[in-house]
């Protein structure tokens, strides 16, 4: 019944913003990573004259008639933020696009933490923005199959002469990352990750000092710290001792305990094993993960973890609020998580509510079997994807928008803002971000929601970028950020692009399997120690029989067909 579907969609529309408007950084930008296809094409001929120029549609690089396009922008609902569709940065873009190309730009807000659901609704209704951005390639593929997405292959190749910045910034790799090796279709362009850091573990430095503990460097030392936090709750929290959470995770254990989980994985895992178990980036079926979760289960039952972690779903701020209120001793999350959001950051809030020296610092306690600290990080692609729905009547104007937004000067202005307002220039020439209020506030760090082809700080001068990252978190000691950046890069193993064609079994399974994966993690962490094996096996059986095994089998089969017996990708 369409009626029922419709009413569900409507219900979802009502539910979704309610949850989303309280959204914090609880979700993860790495969600839904999938190795795409290796770029097969060479850079197109940039000297060729674009058809639009020949036909006189564009004169002197400008449309003769004013065009109008709509562009998706994430709404993060952050405290004190501005309207993401209308502020000084959007004005800058709108004016720039009008002056450069005679194109009017209108922004459409999509809640960040429920972007996939929201985008689904917009696409299904045929009202999606002309330029859509998502982290979820499966959604794009699904709509492409239904005829709802434009094929970009000819568009980007034919207009290469009009889009030099886009091509030089993204390169052939990111432009053609998702190009289908068999039929040559291109449904999306991969934005570029400027920083490939993924996850860090954080601990309350002031608590360590207060209890006379050293910064933990092994898993056992880390556990000892958690025990000390639990046993000294009265000292650390006084009358609020019952709120003590030594180690905190959310329902998304695969992300939020990733550093621990990855330390249980063989650091020399073959590309083959990594790929066939790599449907999503939460490592559920990778050998070693089960033992890591057993550890978490032991911690949970020893009172070392947050009891209620599975009660709250995506976008709820309860856990963040506990961190800000000072109840949480340690946690793992995005490598810069406690530094994000200026005055509203976890560390800044701690400073205000708990005391001057209260702060989280990044640590690297979890050792793999070789004694290293392997972290499985991403490549520069496989991040945000840009696509045009087939309701887009202005593909060329939309492409030129991508060109404009990839111009290094425009990226730099959007990321840094005005001197004295959102940044200061330091003696060494690097930039320091200062917390802005009112209109100049950046709703996302470095305005990454506007620089859709660039995720993370990227200045025209790469040396200054590195220096500036440490200074880029308003109100946070640069030394702490520098250390976090260093730890996030320690023993980092970058993801490789595996090109074996489309895996049919993955079709539309993303959300269903992600839910099952989270349930498995949650149940396995929170069950009784004696029930751990039974619980793990029961839910794993369910996960595999619900499509997980089919994906592993098809990936294995296609790997074997492409690379034969070799368990490693050929070296370039």
């Amino acid at each position: 019944m369409k009626k029922r579907v419709l009413s569900l969609v409507l219900a979802a529309c009502m539910v979704v913003p309610t949850v989303a408007c309280t959204g914090s950084d609880a979700a993860n930008p790495g969600d839904g990573n999938q190795p795409g296809q290796v770029a097969v094409d060479e850079m197109p001929d940039t000297d060729a004259v674009a058809a639009a120029v020949e036909s006189g549609e564009i004169v002197d690089g400008k449309f003769v008639e004013t065009r109008h396009i709509t562009v998706e922008v994430y709404d993060r609902g952050n405290d004190g933020g501005t309207d993401p569709t209308n502020n000084m940065y959007t004005d800058y873009i709108k004016q720039g696009m009008l002056d450069t190309y005679n194109v009017e730009v209108e922004f459409v807000a999509v809640p960040r933490w429920t972007e996939v659901d929201e985008l689904n609704n917009l696409l299904a209704a045929g009202t999606a923005p002309d330029i859509c951005v998502t982290y979820d390639y499966a959604t794009i593929q699904q709509y492409a199959k239904m005829g709802g997405v434009l094929d970009l292959s000819d568009l980007v190749a034919d207009n290469a002469s009009l889009t030099p910045n886009l091509w030089s910034w993204l390169g052939v790799t990111n432009m053609y990352w998702d190009k289908d090796p068999s039929d040559g279709t291109l449904w999306a362009i991969e934005g570029k990750r400027a920083v490939t850091n993924r996850i860090n573990t954080f601990i309350r430095k002031d608590w360590l000092d207060q209890l006379g503990l050293d910064v933990p460097t092994t898993t056992d030392e880390f556990e000892a710290c958690l025990v000390a936090f639990r046993d000294n709750a009265d000292t650390l929290l006084g009358s609020e001792a019952n709120m003590m959470i030594p180690y905190s995770v959310s329902y998304d254990v695969g992300w939020r305990a990733a550093t621990l989980i990855e330390s249980y994985i063989d650091p020399e895992i073959s590309d083959f094993d990594y790929y066939v178990n790599g449907f999503d980036d939460r490592k559920l079926t990778v050998p070693g993960t089960k033992e890591a979760v057993r550890k978490l289960n032991a911690w949970y039952n020893d009172g070392l973890m947050w009891n209620d972690f599975a009660m709250y779903s995506n976008g709820e701020t309860v856990e963040d609020d506990y961190m800000k209120a000072g109840y949480v001793g340690a946690f793992s999350h995005n490598w810069d998580y406690p530094f994000r959001n200026g005055d509203d950051s976890i560390n800044a809030s701690l400073k205000r509510t708990v005391g001057e020296d209260a702060c989280f610092i990044a640590i690297d306690p979890f050792q793999d079997k070789n004694g290293g600290h392997t972290k499985f990080v991403t490549s520069s692609a496989g991040d945000r994807k840009i696509f045009f729905p087939d309701s887009n009547d202005e593909p060329l104007a939309s492409l030129l928008y991508l060109e404009w937004i990839s111009d290094p000067a425009h990226i730099q202005y959007l990321q840094l803002g005005d001197e004295g307002v959102t940044h200061n220039v330091l003696e060494d020439g690097s930039y320091e971000i200062i917390a802005a209020t009112g209109d100049p506030i950046q709703n996302s760090g470095f305005n990454i929601d506007y620089t859709i082809t660039c995720n993370g700080l990227n200045l025209a001068d790469p040396d200054k970028t590195v220096l500036s990252i440490a200074h880029s978190y308003a109100g946070i000691d640069p030394a702490i950020v520098k250390e976090a950046n260093k730890i996030a890069n320690t023993d980092a193993r970058h993801e490789k692009n595996v090109n074996v064609g489309v895996i049919e079994a993955e079709d539309g399974m993303g959300t269903a399997l992600a839910e099952k994966r989270d349930i498995l993690y949650d149940m396995a962490v929170s069950c009784a120690v004696a029930d751990f094996d039974a619980t793990w096996d029961k839910y794993m059986e369910d996960y595999l029989s619900s499509g997980g095994q089919d994906i592993i089998d098809e990936r294995t089969e296609k790997w074997n067909a492409t690379f034969g017996d070799s368990k490693m990708l050929p070296e370039d």
Binding site: Y143, G148, M243
Partner: protein
Amino acid sequence: MEENKIINNPEQTPQASSKMKIQLTKENKMKDKKWVVYLSRYWQLYALLFLPILYLIIFKYLPMVYVQIAFKDYKFRESVWALPFTKNYGFGHFIKAFKNADFRYAIRNTVVLNLLDLVVGFPAPIIFALILNELKLPKFKKVVQTVAYMPHFLSWIIVASLALQLFAPSTGLVNVAVKALGGEPIPFLNEPTHWVVTYILIGIWQSFGWNSIVYLAAIAGINQELYEAASVDGAGRFRKMWHITLPGIKPTIVVLLVMALGNILGSSFDRPFAFQNNTVMNVSNVISTFVYSYGIKGLKFELSTAVGLFQSVVGVIFLLLANNISRRLGERGIW
């Protein structure tokens, strides 16, 4: 229809039946005229009816065109009529749904939760209405009534958030109190059995006041003389309730029961969706939330439609059955 019956009746002679036929035709003509007369006399009323009917056609009937995608392979931009039927003579999506273990669990959970709601929740507003009816102080009665209605106006999202604040395992107010008194925290929301009980009871709390309105209205319609006569005969309060009030609202109870049974496989979306969490998914995932997470979020529109259609068909069958039974039991039913 009527004419045919008469003609086929062997006891009628052909002449008699033709006479009657003429008479009937005349009557029919008069009926036609009456129709026109009614329309011209009460056209304002019919005009008022026009908008609601238009609403029903546009929002309830036209969308049904898309019911057919349950049997087809859906393509975004093509006309639904032109789409090819899917495999297994168009029943591929139904087969796929029933092969899905989560869907079978969802059916089980839907039926179990709805039955529990019915068994525990259905009598609550009746009992409440009966009690309320016995209250003598009008002001007190009004206050109690209003307080009982209130939760109905809270959305399930708010109710679920309240529940989380009250019943969360370590920080919920109730469990904080339990712990302070030296007890073990009660897993209201994170253990399947406890969750079901919590879910059902909160549901009753939210709706019993509102649902009692219908019964109170029915009670108000009972002839007061019956009570007076019973009092004269020496009947006490409970006798009167049993022999006058309850029989007086029996038709209302039956109609509502029939409607509740028709909805046994139906499920609201927001209530289970707001209450469920990962630790109780095996009892809290009902058909509507399954359709949302597996079908809509997974972009399987055909499957969602197939499941919705199945749900509606079963709902109609239950409705007809319940209605039939109630009529056999001598009640009016709903039509």
